[in-house]
C-alpha cells in the first residue's frame, strides 16, 4: 500500500503510477497529449507551456490536465 502511494501521482482525481521523478513533457508524451491541445496544473498551480520540459512531476503530486470539449 505505502509503495503504491510512494510511486503514484493523483492525475485528474485518480491515482496514476509513476516511475520516479518524471519531466512533465515525458508524462504528456506518455499520455499522448499534445501541446496546444491541453493545459496543466501541478499542485494547483498552472504550468506555463514553455516550462513543460523543466517541470518535474514527483510522487504524491496532484496533476490536472484539461482540454476543450463541446459546450455552449
Amino acid at each position: 500500500m505505502s509503495d503504491s502511494i510512494a510511486t503514484s501521482i493523483t492525475l485528474n482525481g485518480d491515482p496514476y503510477p509513476l516511475d520516479g521523478d518524471t519531466a512533465l513533457t515525458a508524462l504528456l508524451e506518455r499520455l499522448s497529449m499534445r501541446r496546444g491541445r491541453v493545459a496543466v496544473e501541478l499542485n494547483h498551480e498552472i504550468v506555463p507551456r514553455a516550462r513543460y520540459d523543466e517541470t518535474i512531476v514527483r510522487a504524491g503530486d496532484h496533476v490536472e490536465i484539461i482540454n476543450f470539449v463541446g459546450g455552449g
Binding site: 492525475l11 485528474n12 482525481g13 485518480d14 496514476y16 499520455l31 499522448s32 497529449m33 499534445r34 501541446r35 496546444g36 491541445r37 491541453v38 493545459a39 496543466v40 496544473e41 498552472i46 504550468v47 506555463p48 507551456r49 490536472e64 490536465i65 484539461i66 482540454n67 476543450f68 470539449v69 463541446g70 459546450g71 455552449g72
Partner: protein
C-alpha cells in the same frame, strides 16, 4: 449596404453569430454545423482530459484555432474562484485572451450568479482577459460589467437551452441603449425568428448552442440562424417603420376605376 465589422476586444469579425459546440452527435457533425452557421467564433467547454481513453479525438482537430476564434467558457462553474481557475487554464492552451464568463447561481434555471460573475470579471480583466460575461437581462448588471472593463455584455434571452426566445425585449432595449460595448444575446434562442428579433432590437450578436444542436436537422437550422442573424441585422440598419394602430393604404387612393 456595407456593414461595419463586428468588433470584440480589438478583434474584427464578419459574422455576428457565435455558436456553441455542445450536444452534437460527434465532432464531424459539430464541424458541419459550425461551417453551415458561418460563425467565426465558437465556444467550447473546459474539462479534464480522459486519461483512460487516450485515443479519443480532440475537438480542436475539427475546429482549427487558426480558422476559428475559440471562445473557452466557464460553464459548470458555480463560484468566482472556479471560473477564474478555468479561464487561467483555458488561456494556457493557447487560443487567446477571449473568454466567456459564466458563473451559475442555480442548477434548475441556470441563471447566472450576478455577484460572483462581477467578482470573477474584476479579477479576469485585471489579468488581461477579454471577458464576455453571461448575465441576466438586467440593465444595471450589464452596466456594472461594462464599467469593470468587459469587452461585451451577454444578457440571456431566456434560460439556457429553454428555446423560449426573448422574454424581455424592453430590458434588452435599455441594455442596448446604454451599452458602450457589444451586446450579445446569449441563451434562450429557440428558432430563427428569435435570433432575428434580437438583431432587429439592435443587439450586436447572438450566441446559441441548443437551438442548432437540438434541432431535428442541425445543419439546416445552422443555416437558418445564419440567415436570421443577417436579416435581423439588415432590418435594424434599414430602420423599421413605426407601429400604427390603424391602416395606411399602400396603393394610391386616387384614379380608382368607376
Amino acid at each position: 449596404m456595407q456593414d461595419t465589422p463586428f468588433e470584440l476586444g480589438g478583434l474584427k469579425f464578419q459574422s455576428r453569430l457565435i455558436v456553441g459546440t455542445g450536444k452534437y452527435r460527434d465532432f464531424a457533425e459539430t464541424k458541419a454545423a459550425v461551417e453551415a452557421s458561418g460563425a467565426e467564433i465558437v465556444t467550447v467547454a473546459v474539462r479534464r482530459v480522459n486519461i483512460t481513453d487516450r485515443g479519443k479525438e480532440n475537438l480542436l482537430d475539427y475546429l482549427d484555432p487558426k480558422r476559428y476564434q475559440i471562445l473557452p467558457n466557464t460553464a459548470g462553474c458555480f463560484t468566482a474562484d472556479e471560473a477564474v481557475r478555468t479561464c487561467r487554464l483555458a488561456r494556457e492552451v493557447g487560443v487567446g485572451e477571449l473568454v466567456k464568463l459564466e458563473v451559475i447561481g442555480d442548477k434548475r434555471t441556470l441563471f447566472p450568479d450576478v455577484v460572483a460573475t462581477i467578482e470573477a470579471a474584476r479579477v479576469l480583466v485585471k489579468e488581461g482577459f477579454k471577458v464576455m460575461p453571461y448575465a441576466t437581462d438586467d440593465p444595471v448588471t450589464c452596466l456594472r460589467l461594462q464599467e469593470i472593463g468587459c469587452v461585451a455584455v451577454m444578457p440571456l434571452a431566456a434560460p439556457i437551452g429553454s428555446g423560449l426566445g426573448i422574454r424581455n425585449p424592453f430590458n434588452l432595449a435599455i441594455i442596448i441603449e446604454q451599452a458602450k460595448v457589444p451586446v450579445i444575446v446569449d441563451a434562450g434562442v429557440g428558432t430563427a425568428s428569435d435570433a432575428a428579433e434580437a438583431m432587429e432590437l439592435g443587439c450586436d450578436g447572438v450566441l446559441m448552442n441548443t437551438a442548432i444542436a437540438g434541432a431535428k436537422d442541425p445543419l439546416a437550422m445552422a443555416l437558418a440562424m445564419k440567415l436570421a442573424v443577417e436579416a435581423g441585422r439588415l432590418a435594424y440598419r434599414a430602420g423599421r417603420i413605426e407601429r400604427k394602430l390603424y391602416a395606411t393604404a399602400s396603393s394610391p387612393l386616387t384614379g380608382l376605376i368607376g
